[in-house]
Each structure stands twice: as C-alpha cells, then as structure tokens.
C-alpha cells in the first residue's frame, strides 16, 4: 500500500514570495526520508506540498509536479480532499480533537470519509490502529476518556494512530518529536521504524541524530539568506549525507559548523 513519490521542478509560493525553488527528488516506497536544514529553509513548507496542505494558507500555491505512483497531485482534476486521505500527516504539536474521546479520535478520519462502520469493525480498527501506534497497552482501559488527557508523547502517538486508521499510502511527519521529551521521542522513533514496513514515511526534523537514526535517505535544504528561496542542496543515502557529503554546506551543517 505504500507508494513512490516523485517531485519534479517544484516551486512553492506564498502569494508572490517564492519560498522553495526548484526541488526535484524521488522518494522510494517503504522507506524513511528525512528533511533537514536550518529554520526557515522551507523544509516544512515543502513537506506540506506533498499532501496539498500548503494551499490551506490563503495565497499559497505551487508550480511543478508531485507524482504519487505516476499520478500528479496537482492535476486540476484531482480533489485535494482525496489526496489528503491518501497522504496522512502528523504535526509538530500533538493535536488530538479536544472534544473527542481517544476512540473517537482514532475513528475521526474514517467517519469523515463517510463510511458507515459497524461497531465491531470500529472496535477492531481502533485496536489495530492503536497497536500500530504502540499506544494500545497504555490506553485500552480508557478509550472513552478524552484524548487531551494523555501525555504529550501519548497524544502524538494517538495522532499517528488517527493518521494510520484511514490506511494512507504515505505518512508525512512535520517535526513530530520537537515538543516531546527524550523518552517519548524514542517511542516515536521506534514506531517510525515499524511503520516503514508498511508506509512511505517522510519526516522533517531539526534533530540530526534523529535523522541519522531513523531515515534511509536524507535531503538537506538550505537558504541563501532571508527573503531568498529555500533550495534542496543535497539528497542522498543518510550514511552518505552524514559521513561523506558531496557539498561543503551539507558537511558544515551536519557537523555543526554552520553559521
């Protein structure tokens, strides 16, 4: 169920401001790809173009193509709502719906997609998704409690369970651990390792150790200066990026000699 992503010559705009320029890369199915780079270099912005969440911001638009298994996401005939059902997303800050219970949170996406679901199917899906997110054992006795009562790390795993409950092809993660403590971070990283058996995962991170721990390939983004567009500098196997990068800027960044 996981799919290959191809990005061709993508320019990303906020109104007239060119935020990311000329990105071309390919992401393999069932792999973890990390985007690293300094703040403001456009990696999150670029990530959000992969499920058309970018255009939620007024005035935001893109030029170029994003192909998922050969189908262009930005084809005029494509409904962004359907794109987002295929490409799930986990955000920087855990965002379970505050008025819903844990169970309702997991089922939120399925119910949105207008599927009628029997109670036994729903229960099974909740268990499967929460187990998939390594959260089942911690919450199985309080599925009807509010999701906002969990700890930050648990909430983030709940969000991952919510994302995988709709069986997406790809999961995008926008700095999923930046608001979490080290133990919760470890739990999420272990989870990413398991999820990659089934899903194509793209993760934005500020933490270079994390990128080197979890990802197969790494893309380094950089920006020439404020007001200039962010660019993809180097994209290669994670081991190459961290041990033997071909571009000087990459080496400076991963070795901490940046800026």
């Amino acid at each position: 169920m996981s799919k290959r992503i191809e990005v061709r010559d993508l320019n990303v705009y906020y109104s007239k401001f060119l935020a990311v320029e000329g990105v071309t890369l390919e992401i393999e199915p069932r792999s973890v790809t990390a985007f690293i780079g300094p703040s403001g270099c456009g990696k999150s912005t670029f990530l959000r173009t992969l499920n058309r969440m970018h255009e939620v911001i007024p005035g935001a638009r893109v030029e170029g193509e994003v192909l998922i298994d050969g189908n262009n996401l930005y084809d005029p005939a494509v409904d962004p709502v359907l794109v987002r059902r295929q490409v799930g997303m986990v955000f920087q800050r855990p965002n379970p719906f505050p008025t819903m219970s844990i169970k309702e949170n997991v089922l939120a996406g399925v119910k949105l997609n207008n599927k009628r679901i029997s109670k036994s199917d729903a229960d099974e899906l909740v268990e499967r998704s929460l187990q998939g997110a390594n959260l089942w054992n911690e919450v199985k006795d309080r599925l009807d409690r509010p999701g906002s009562g969990l700890s930050g790390g648990q909430q983030q795993r709940l969000c991952i369970a919510r994302a995988i409950a709709v069986s997406p092809e790809v999961i995008l993660m926008d700095e999923p651990c930046s608001a979490l403590d080290p133990i919760s971070t470890l739990a999420i990283e272990d989870l990413i390792e398991e999820l990659k058996q089934q899903y194509t995962i793209v993760i934005v991170t500020h933490n270079m150790q994390q990128a080197s721990r979890v990802s197969d390939k790494t893309a380094f983004f950089n920006i020439a200066g404020t007001g200039r567009p962010g660019k993809l500098i180097e994209y290669a196997d994670t081991t190459t990026i961290f041990s033997n990068p071909s571009v000087q800027a990459t080496e400076d960044y991963v070795s901490g000699r940046f800026g």
Partner: protein, 312 residues
Amino acid sequence: MTSAPAPIKAKLRVGDLVFSRSAVFAGSMILVTLAAVALFLIVQSIPALSATKEDASILETNFWEYVGPLVFGTVWAAALALLIALPISIGIALFISHYAPRRLASVLGYVVDLLAAVPSVVFGLWGIGVLAPAVVPVYTWLNENLGWIPLFSGTVSATGRTILTAALVLAVMVLPIMTAICREVFLQTPVLHEEAALALGATRWEMIRVAVLPFGRSGIISASVLGLGRALGETMAVAMVLSAAHVVTFDLLTSVNPTTIAANIALSFPEAYALNVNVLIATGLILFVVTFAVNAFARWIISRRKEFSGAN
C-alpha cells in the same frame, strides 16, 4: 545576628491615589444604580402584588393572573426570535470566519455591526410598514397547507401583525450581537485542530463540524442567551408591530396574540393611574427577574471558558 530590616513601604503617589479612588467610585456607581432601580421596583411593586380588581381597574382578577400571560408572551416571543436568529447568525458567522474571502469578510463584519446601530423604533416602523404586509401571503399559505400543525392553525391575521412577525423583527434585532460573538469564537479555533481535520481528508464543512463547532459550542450558547436576554427586554419593536390581546396561545398567525411585558408597559403606562401604575411597575419587576436570571446563566456559561471573556 542582625535585626530584620524594616519592611519597605510603597510610596504613595498622587496619580495612583486619584486613579484608584476614581476606579472604586466608578465601580460602586454600578452597584448604587442597580440597587436604586431594584429598590424602586420593589417598593413600587409591593402594593400591586396583593392587589385585586377592586383596587386596580387594569386587573381582571388579581396581579398574578394578569402577569402570567405577559410572562408567557415575553418568553414565547423571545424564544421564537432566538430560534429564528440562531441558525442564521451561526451561518453568517461561519461564512465570515471560514468561507468569505478576507476582504468581503471584513466588509460583512461591518455591515452586521451596522445593523446593531439601527434604533429599535426604526425596526418597529419597518415591521409595520414593510414586513407585516409582506408576510401575509406567506402566512396564508402556511395556514392553508400546514394548518394541521397547531402552531399555524386558526384564522390568519389580515394585517400580518402577529407574534411571528414580532419575533421576526426581534430576530433581526438580536442577530448582530449573536453573529459577532459566534464569529469571534469561530475565529479563535486553533489552526492546529483545523489542520488536523483537513489532513485527515475533511472537506471544508467536515472540518467545521469536527473542529470549529465543538470548539465554539460554549460561545454559541452564550451568544444565544445574550440574544435571548436582549429579545426579552425589547420594547418598541414589539409594541409597534403586535396587535395584542391578553391571552396565552401558541397560535402564530392569528390576530389574537399574547403581548410582552415591556411592550405592555409602554402601551399602557400613558393611561395608567393610581394602583394601575404600581401593577405595571410590578410587571417590570418580573421582567427584571427573568432577564437577570437569563443573563446570570449566560455569565455562568461564559465563565466556564475564560478565554472567551471578549465575548461579552
């Protein structure tokens, strides 16, 4: 061992003193005014509460029989107005906060606020002159086709000056405040939750259903109750529009309509004398109690979500 240093005393500055005294004065003025009004109402009401028709010509039996239909009319008209205004104001607020392009949204916001600036007597004139004649055909249709529903039964008023028309005018009058509160609350929906819904593949409406409306629920409730409070006390529009009788009826379309306390006072006061004056003031006391209860309820709901304190 040294002795403890003397506590530092704040220096008294003239500016601070003037400000704090004037703030205390302003604050206590509210209490004084409220107490004066309440005292006036209570003192003037006491003779009326036990009055009978021998004492006051306006009464048919006793005071409570007199005020009963008025309380019913007041609550009934306000509830109808709320029922009409609530869905519309939620719709307008959602349109402004989530659908309209930014420029159109701010223009619309001003227009809604402008509606709040129209004096109620103008709404009354509009109700008599424009709305009432215009709704007569609609009422006739409702009566002919839906007459089996008790609300629409009876003989249709030829003038259109019914409780439903009054409720429509009231609805227009409470719309601005309700829309403004709903809009503010909807705008405060965390982007995080909206994006969570969208990223799951929610359409715009589904996003509103999942993220915006649950978040805004208490704001919607307080908007309703404040709207209700305003509708309860509104005088001129009802007094002008309604052709009133002294009855309790749920019929919406007939020319026999219950009236409201405020409208009744406005219409009866000029001719009132002796104990009749006290009777009317006593109905005012009842209105005061009802409105106070509604507002207290609204405050209580608002206080449960402190971040919405901008809503009142």
